[in-house]
Amino acid sequence: MRDLSIRVHGARERLLRSVSLAVAAGEVHGLVGESGAGKSMIGKAILGILPRAVEVVAGQILLDGTDLLTLPPTERRRRIGASCALIPQDPLTALNPSRRIAPQITDRLVDILGWDRAKADARALALLGEVQIADPARVLRAYPHELSGGMRQRILIASAFAAEPKLIVADEPTTALDVTVQKQILRLIAGLQARQRTALLFVTHDLGVVSKVCQRLSVLYAGHVVEDTDVRRFFASPRHAYSRALLAATPKYTDPESSLIPVPDAVIEAVRAEVASADRSWHG
């Protein structure tokens, strides 16, 4: 992604301010920020599912060297459908409650990728096994409401990895889950990602999770990239004041006195000033 800026039609403020980030093949890149920072928007921009009220005003989204934004809409959808996938945040609403599980996995493979039904069914069965669902045949025949949140998330993960996409956008996939279930799910995602060498854009607000699954990360504030660096360097010593403040605010039970510290007003002021000056130089 190069210098991507998006905003609501007719609004003055940009939702994403010249965001640049790069995800190499097989790499896991974390996107961190508070709510409203724009992390979900980045994922949606890549997948071409931005809300209708939002428009791209500048920048490029390059997938394997081709700028998706310059392609005609049908071609763009085809490319994205063929090589990208999404692991959504909320397992409750991401599955259609009135259809069984099996078609929800296989339809995409059959309709968009042109597989034949038998091959898709076999793949779905195999995948559910890979995400460690016991009795996958029964689950395939079940309806979403019959399954737990953790199981639904596994199905969504299986679905995303089904066609061996080049890039997966994981939008806060474990935010709604218990901490023990989160660990299992993260293990799963990491395992599948490593095996298929998928590039993964991992959106989250939890720095703890980032330190476990990501190799690089970008910190966002109000749609502006504040820091973009590799994970080891970040946690050893974050460069930007805002990043340091976020880290200090993150709960660490091994060091309770130095965690859960609110972000100082001075730091917020400073980063807001940074954003404002970025706005000024953009229009200028």
Binding site: V179, T180, K183, L186, V210, Y253, S259
Partner: protein
């Protein structure tokens, strides 16, 4: 030490309406299966567990939003287990609750001042306007927010209004039910800092329900770990983290992703 709450063999079951036969009562699901613990006056205790552990149910039982099916709850030497609404009323100003979801916890059609002031009016307290202003001061919100509606406030501000409402009555005990779970990391830190200060300033006893052990580490002196409706461990915070006794507690601790790439985890 003065015990504010004494809970003995607390049991609570709720009707499972999805399995109700056509005629006759619905089968009951046991949620709390015999809990016993004390809450000393002035303590901050953490109640932790996964979803389905019964922690929210326990919280609601403590403030008598739910009636226990067995066992007893004593609040300041009064048995409140089966008191009816009328008998509970005078006691209610002594124990209050802060809710998880500030969107649904504040009536969208009432102004903030009304939301905080209603409990005061209910208990016949005068000087409502000044008490409301005081409560807003305590939680660090500008006084003029009283004229606003909840939807005009941010999530963090709404949560503070919920806290202001709870402290306005000057209760002895407050139950905080996952009040920082939906919040940003920095807002969470602010709210917790606020809570720490209020407990010290107002001499409150606090029961803090959470699924996040890290938050509990910072805030609470004692921890109760719930699993499937039973207490699997109860200890002073430092002891629990240093040497967890139960397997479930160890699982919980192991599952927490610390922001440290060197932690052996995945």
């Amino acid at each position: 030490m003065d015990k504010l709450y004494e809970v003995r063999d607390l049991r609570l079951s709720l009707a499972d309406l999805t399995a109700k036969p056509l005629l006759g009562p619905a089968p009951r699901i046991e949620i709390l299966k015999g809990l016993s613990f004390d809450v000393p006056r002035g303590a901050i205790i953490g109640i932790v567990g996964g979803s389905g552990s019964g922690k929210s149910t326990l919280g609601r039982a403590l403030v008598r939003l739910l009636e226990p099916s067995g066992g007893s709850i004593r609040f300041a030497d009064t048995d409140i287990t089966h008191l009816n609404a009328a008998s509970l009323r005078p006691l209610r100003r002594r124990f209050q609750m802060i809710f998880q979801d500030p969107m649904s916890a504040l009536n969208p059609r009432h102004r903030v001042g009304t939301i905080i002031g209603n409990p005061l009016a209910l208990h016949g307290i005068d000087n409502i306007a000044s008490r409301v202003a005081e409560a807003l001061d305590h939680v660090g919100l500008p006084r003029l927010l009283a004229r606003r509606y909840p939807h005009e406030l941010s999530g963090g501000q709404r949560q503070r209004v919920g806290i202001a409402r709870a402290i306005a009555l000057m209760p002895e005990f407050i139950l905080a039910d996952e009040i920082v779970s939906g919040l940003d990391v920095s807002t969470q830190a602010q709210v917790l800092q606020l809570l720490e200060r209020l407990v010290a300033d107002l001499g409150l006893t606090l029961a803090f329900i959470s699924h996040d052990l890290s938050v509990i580490r910072r805030l609470c002196q004692r921890v109760i770990v719930l699993h499937q409706g039973q207490i699997v461990e109860e200890a002073a915070t430092a002891d629990l983290f240093a040497a967890p006794q139960s397997a479930y507690t160890r699982d919980l601790l192991d599952a927490i992703p610390l922001p440290d790439p060197d932690q052996i985890w995945v």
